[in-house]
């Protein structure tokens, strides 16, 4: 049977990995290529690169990074950030990425998902959803622009909408849990899993290896994504997968 995926996420700015990665033994901890090889060797099932460059030059550098990573990595990787058109998708996919992730651009113009899916296939189209619980709404509200801008979308409505429009996977980030390090948002993750039939990646809140067991035992999440917990060596991909295996969760 299919295994649960563990996905480290790397923020890249102007071609460099940011968020102060603390690794011993790496020649250059800011080098996306070296870091991705490190995670590959640790048993990461996939990688996500988020381009947080603000400049046009930074975006161009990202394409070079994608080419280099694709030349060394033998596991799939997704690139998000700054993708606003089919041309942007083509540039990133032709450079060697396996999937592109849309967030703000998909909310602004949902047709973009279908345009990409028709051209590249649904398996290339990830929609990243940033959601935050809203008392008034009685559910989770969708935010764009890195969580700064609230939208009118409720999370299950939006999740169904993006799948209808051709999303092959959902990268679901809980803004409430993100950075809190006390576990994934089970309610949000299961709510979205019940609403759609495509794979869902749970993100936001991983603070310990136990959190990964929790999210896979308590929800139907297909994958779990984390950043700082791996970067700051609080645990490792290897350790997380070993622990999952011990607890009877199927991993590679």
């Amino acid at each position: 049977m299919i295994t649960k995926r563990i996905i480290p996420c790397l923020d890249v700015k102007e071609g460099r990995v940011v968020k102060g990665v603390q690794f011993v033994g790496l020649r250059d901890a800011g080098d996306p290529v070296e870091l991705s090889t490190f995670y590959d060797e640790q048993g990461a099932d996939e990688l996500v690169f988020l381009d947080i460059s603000a400049s046009h030059e930074g975006r161009k550098t990202m394409v070079e990074v994608v080419k280099e990573v694709a030349g060394t990595l033998a596991i799939p990787f997704t690139v998000g950030g700054g993708i606003h058109s089919v041309d942007d998708m083509r540039t990133i996919l032709r450079a060697g990425a396996d999937k592109v992730s849309l967030n703000t651009a998909a909310v602004k113009r949902p047709e973009l998902i279908r345009e990409g899916a028709d051209y590249f296939g649904v398996q290339c189209m990830v929609v990243a959803i940033d959601a935050k619980y809203d008392e008034e709404l009685g559910s989770w509200r969708i935010y764009t622009h890195g969580g700064r801008t609230p939208t009118d979308w409720e999370v299950t409505d939006w999740a169904k909408e993006v799948v209808r429009r051709g999303a092959g996977e959902i990268l679901l980030t809980s803004m409430d849990q993100d950075g809190a390090k006390n576990g994934f948002d089970m309610g949000l993750t299961e709510t979205v899993n019940n609403a759609v039939s495509v794979p869902v990646i749970a993100s936001g809140g991983a603070g310990a290896k136990e959190d990964f067991v929790d999210v896979f035992e308590k929800t139907r999440a297909d994958a779990a994504l984390a950043a700082s917990i791996f970067h700051y060596k609080e645990t490792s991909v290897e350790e997380v997968k070993k622990y999952l295996r011990e607890k009877g969760v199927r991993v590679r």
Partner: protein, 214 residues
């Protein structure tokens, strides 16, 4: 030398990069005259079956590939490229395939026989189960995990073409083969060590210039 058929579909870059890492020489082109100089062909592909067949026809590659196979030269189809080797697919309306292998691609129903609903696409790492462990394609490979991503699955009654399968709410043909025609439903170029070994095995067959299953 290996010829990678460029027909505008799929992640050709990662396939060619994988061959580079294995030190296998290749040419990536849509030009059939160039491809004809190769010793083995790879038909990659992501996207839809219907679009892929249309483009192959437009680029006059269908007859070329059929002649190639008739000449007994090695051909490896990857993911959609594997599905194209079969009779056809129901993706985006029924479409006829290249017809080298018997079988038809059907959408994963998303519901098991026991009425359990499951995720489509079949995306992620799944475990291989060997059906013909002594096959040359499986040399130095164990029944480990490889990376799948597909919404349509091959249905075939020809058990003799199944080299390896995976289990996803039913049997998923993972590696298929009949003489010089080989296919993998998963992406070897994205399947870490096992995937690289598979590509190396194919490279070896190409270099040795022999037909598979012989």
């Amino acid at each position: 030398m290996i010829g990678i058929i460029d027909y505008g579909m799929g992640n050709l870059h990662s396939v060619s990069k994988a061959l580079e890492r294995l030190d296998l020489s290749y040419v990536l082109t849509e030009d059939t005259e160039e491809l004809a100089k190769a010793d083995g062909l790879i038909l990659p592909g992501v996207g839809s079956f219907h679009d892929a067949m249309n483009i192959l026809k437009e680029k006059k590659q269908v007859d070329f590939i059929k002649q190639w196979v008739a000449d007994g030269k090695p051909l490896l189809g990857i993911c959609l490229g594997m599905q194209l080797l079969f009779d056809g697919s129901e993706e985006n309306g029924d479409t006829e395939g290249l017809g080298f292998l018997p079988g038809y691609a059907r959408l994963f129903p998303g519901k098991s026989e026991k009425d359990v609903s499951y995720k489509v696409p079949h995306m992620g790492w799944n475990k291989l189960q060997f059906k013909q462990p002594d096959h040359a394609m499986l040399t130095n490979i164990e029944e480990g995990h490889v990376y799948f991503v597909h919404s349509y699955v091959m249905r075939t009654d020809a058990k003799d073409i199944l080299l390896a399968t995976a289990d996803y709410f039913g049997e998923v043909p993972a590696i298929v083969g009949k003489k010089n025609v080989i296919g993998t439903q998963f992406h070897p170029e994205k399947s870490s060590r096992i995937g690289m070994q598979l590509l190396e095995n194919f490279g070896k067959m190409v270099a040795e210039g022999r037909n598979i299953n012989e």
